[in-house]
């Protein structure tokens, strides 16, 4: 990890240099330091860039605590603009020269001028009715009408409001307004011991318990210099792929169901249930909680390779039946194309990026101290629903093989944790920081932690891939038709909870 202290004047120039060297802005964390730790009421912003060869570079910028403002990087990187809007809502840090300095995270019921992540924010004030103050852009023209959907939807899904501007059945513009589920998770970490908040990290997005748990554990290990045993690395890789399996087959089935081909959904549901039971046998929890621990991993049993292979054969058959069905194939093909250029400009991650031909995978690109080899990358170029379906189908098979290879290397289940360390604060002074990266099933998850000298968390910043991928949905949908939206949305299947912390 390289750390570069920058001033407001040279931030943009340094960022340009890094972006030109194939780095991407992976995380921006603002900090409002308490006077006792930083000496005075100061604000800081950390920009984490990730690049080839597992390059991790942090730019650290100090701000005036009384008038916090940063020069905007929105013109250089699309995700930077969104991070800056998030920072403004949560910390009150203005970004100078932002092309669209509108609220992002802040729900329209939040009182203005209240920034919950500042340490002096106090308890949440009364929420008001300010519905009219944040209007949608109205598309005008003959025959244009609006369809508002949500935030409460039919079916058990998370809340999000979608506003379609439509002519006939063709979508001219879609505005997705999410941010109905702010839980203050980053603040809930603060002041606690890392081991006590691993369970919180596992619940950031319920379907990504291993991904977020692993990223958090790695960040803490990075900060404290903990060396994870080799067996634990292998177990962690197995758990990460088990999570990918049950989520991917769920999506494969749901995509078939959204085009009315229910029987494949039923079979996918059967496979998913088998996987959840295997998860339960492996970790004691159907959603794989408790498998990752700080400094290691623990499993009750190892997944049976024969059962996983049999399920993978079932999945391959389901996928063949889906793609061999002319109507299903017709519904998938060419629907909501996200081009490679769009995928790259928006900074998309995970299967969304790989379905558009963007070659990104943190298992290969950012292994950190993990010596486990990454499974082969599944890449498609269509950028349509079919490509996103095919990437999942391909990854299912790769992950199964990967798990079976890794299982053969282990001698058996058990608990493997780094040797106990003394109190991490003993004999040292100053704040320690660490970055953890994991390729969750949706894409690259990045956590950054800061620990006080006594070993408690003073700041945790979480970035779920959904934060990068959500803006791609309206872009891909331009020109699609309204009845295809549920299918397209499912093909992205981004997390609301992970996006809105």
């Amino acid at each position: 990890m390289r750390i570069i202290d920058v001033g407001p004047g040279d931030l943009a120039a340094t960022a340009i240099g890094l972006l030109d060297a194939d780095h991407r802005l992976a995380l921006v964390a603002a900090h409002h330091d308490r006077p006792q730790t930083a000496g005075r009421d100061a604000m800081r912003v950390v920009y984490l860039f990730l690049g080839p060869g597992d390059s991790r570079i942090e730019l650290r910028l100090r701000l005036d605590g009384h008038r916090p403002q940063v020069p905007s990087l929105a013109g250089l990187s699309f995700p930077a603009g969104r991070f800056e809007r998030e920072m403004h809502d949560l910390f009150g840090i203005r970004s100078l020269g932002h092309p669209m300095p509108r609220r992002l995270v802040r729900h329209y019921g939040w009182p203005t001028g209240w920034h919950p992540m500042r340490h002096d924010a106090g308890p949440a004030p009364e929420f008001g009715e300010t519905l009219g103050l944040y209007p949608f852009l109205e598309v005008q023209g003959p025959g244009v009408y609006e369809i508002p959907v949500g935030p409460v939807h039919a079916g058990l899904i998370e809340p999000g409001h979608f506003r379609f501007s439509v002519v006939g059945e063709t979508i001219l513009k879609l505005k997705a307004r999410l941010w109905f589920v702010h839980k203050g998770i980053e603040k809930l970490f603060e002041g606690n011991r890392p081991a006590d908040k691993l369970t919180l990290a596992e619940k950031i997005s319920g379907d990504t318990a291993v991904g977020h748990g692993l990223a958090f554990a790695r960040a803490v290990e990075d900060a404290l210099g903990i060396k994870v045993p080799a067996e634990a690395h292998t177990m962690r890789a197995i758990l990460l792929e088990l999570e990918r399996l049950y989520n991917h087959i769920g999506d494969i089935g749901a995509l078939c169901n959204d085009v009315g081909h229910g029987i494949l959904h039923q079979h996918a549901g059967r496979v998913r249930e088998q996987l959840l039971r295997i998860n339960g046998e492996v970790t004691g929890h159907r959603l794989l909680r408790g498998g990752i621990v700080i400094g290691g991993a623990q499993v009750i049993s190892l997944p049976d390779p024969d059962r996983l292979s049999a399920l993978a054969a079932d999945v391959a058959e389901t996928v063949d039946l889906a793609l061999g069905h002319t109507v299903v194939r017709d519904r998938f093909t060419g629907t909501a194309v996200l081009t490679l250029e769009q995928a790259r400009d928006l900074g998309t991650l995970g299967y969304v990026a790989r379905a558009s031909g963007l070659d990104v995978d943190a298992r290969r690109d950012h292994p950190g101290s993990d010596p486990t080899s990454a499974p082969p990358l599944v890449l498609r170029e269509g950028g349509d629903v079919l490509a996103r379906f095919a990437v999942r189908a391909g990854e299912y098979q790769q992950s199964t093989e990967h798990i079976n290879t890794l299982t053969a290397r282990l001698h058996g289940p058990g608990r493997h944790v780094a040797a106990e360390r003394g109190d991490p604060g003993t004999g040292r002074s100053g704040v320690r920081t660490g970055v953890g990266i994991a390729e969750g099933w949706r894409g690259t998850i990045v956590h950054r932690v800061e620990l006080t000298p006594d070993g408690s968390l003073s700041r945790v910043k979480v970035v779920d891939p959904s934060f990068f991928n959500w803006p791609a949905l309206p872009v891909a949908l331009r020109g699609a038709i309204v009845p295809d939206f549920p299918l397209v949305n499912k093909s992205f299947n981004q997390s609301y909870a992970g996006n809105d912390l």
């Binding site: 079916g155 039923q266 309204v482």
Partner: protein, 325 residues
């Protein structure tokens, strides 16, 4: 066009009894047909299913609820379920399901039957618009598009079927089919059967045109129009939809599988025909449900292609009726 009448020119008491029987059969049987179809599908997909009686249990539950009217809706919204139920019941009384001698007689015209069914569709589409919601308008727009595309097929097929008897009177067409089986298996009839089968799927809101089991508002056609209904009104809408499916399947079986339909109003003949009719519609429903397991929903813009195909078959049926008969 009702020149050569065979039976049922006069309304008799027995004929009225037959019509009442058909109406009762439709009301009681339609939810059971839907329940049976869902059960067939569930079993084929490896699920336990909710049972054949579930639609009736749902209707009973809805009927006990308090009626609610969405804000800003008017008489159009309130009367649409009644209109749909009423038109479907009239059609159930008119089509010779169990006997060609129904109480409706002369008025049981194929074109009148189609017009009544369309009246019900139009009433519900207007109700969808009346709610003023985006979904209601969207559903109404889609339903009307599909109806407008299905209508020419129905008229063409009706024309092809009527040329052989010189009448669009339904009892006359069915009676002619009963007396001469060769007419029913003629190329004209087979082409018309396929054309009307596609229309039945479209009008009843089945796959691959509409997905009756979806919860995704944006993909709905029929369900989008009725999203605002609740309680007893929803029960009527659901009942009407179930009856519509039964009546459409019944109409199809009367036209293309007429055997067993009674030609008199004798008690035994009618009872036998009733049993046979139940079996015919049940089998058709089961076949439809089984077929749907292997189907997926067409992209909305491909539905016109399906209906254009059915229209082509109907045109061919008309052409064949001139060249072959």
């Amino acid at each position: 066009m009702s020149g050569t009448m065979v039976t049922g020119t006069t309304t008799t008491g027995a004929g009225i009894a037959v019509s009442v029987l058909q109406v009762a059969l439709t009301v009681v049987g339609a939810p059971l047909l839907v329940g049976m179809m869902r059960q067939v599908r569930a079993r084929m997909e490896g699920r336990a299913g909710a049972g054949v009686g579930q639609p009736w249990r749902d209707l009973r539950k809805l009927m006990r609820k308090k009626p609610l009217d969405p804000h800003g809706t008017g008489p159009v919204f309130r009367t649409a379920p009644l209109i749909q139920v009423a038109t479907t019941l009239m059609v159930a009384a008119a089509i010779p399901f169990v006997s060609v001698d129904t109480g409706v007689g002369e008025a049981a015209d194929l074109i009148a039957v189609v017009a009544l069914l369309t009246l019900g569709t139009a009433a519900l589409a207007l109700a969808g618009l009346d709610t003023g919601t985006a979904f209601g308008g969207m559903g109404a727009s889609r339903e009307m598009t599909i109806t407008a595309l299905a209508e020419p097929t129905v008229l063409m097929a009706a024309f092809a079927l009527s040329t052989r008897v010189g009448s669009t009177n339904l009892p006359a067409i069915v009676d002619a089919g009963l007396k001469d089986a060769g007419r029913v298996v003629s190329p004209v009839s087979v082409l018309a059967a396929f054309a009307l089968a596609a229309v039945v799927l479209a009008e009843a809101g089945r796959l691959p045109v509409d997905n009756p089991s979806t919860h995704l508002e944006l993909t709905m056609v029929h369900e989008a129009m009725v999203l605002e209904y609740s309680g007893p009104d929803l029960a009527l809408v659901e009942l009407a939809a179930a009856m519509r499916l039964s009546v459409l399947l019944g109409l199809w079986s009367a036209l293309f599988l007429p055997w067993g339909t009674a030609t008199s109003t004798g008690v035994l003949a009618v009872l036998g025909a009733t049993a046979l009719f139940v079996v015919k519609v049940g089998v058709l429903g089961a076949v439809l449900a089984a077929g749907e397991v292997f189907m997926a929903k067409l992209r909305l813009f491909r539905v016109p292609e399906l209906l254009a195909g059915s229209f082509l078959l109907a045109v061919l049926a008309v052409a064949a009726s001139f060249f072959l008969e």
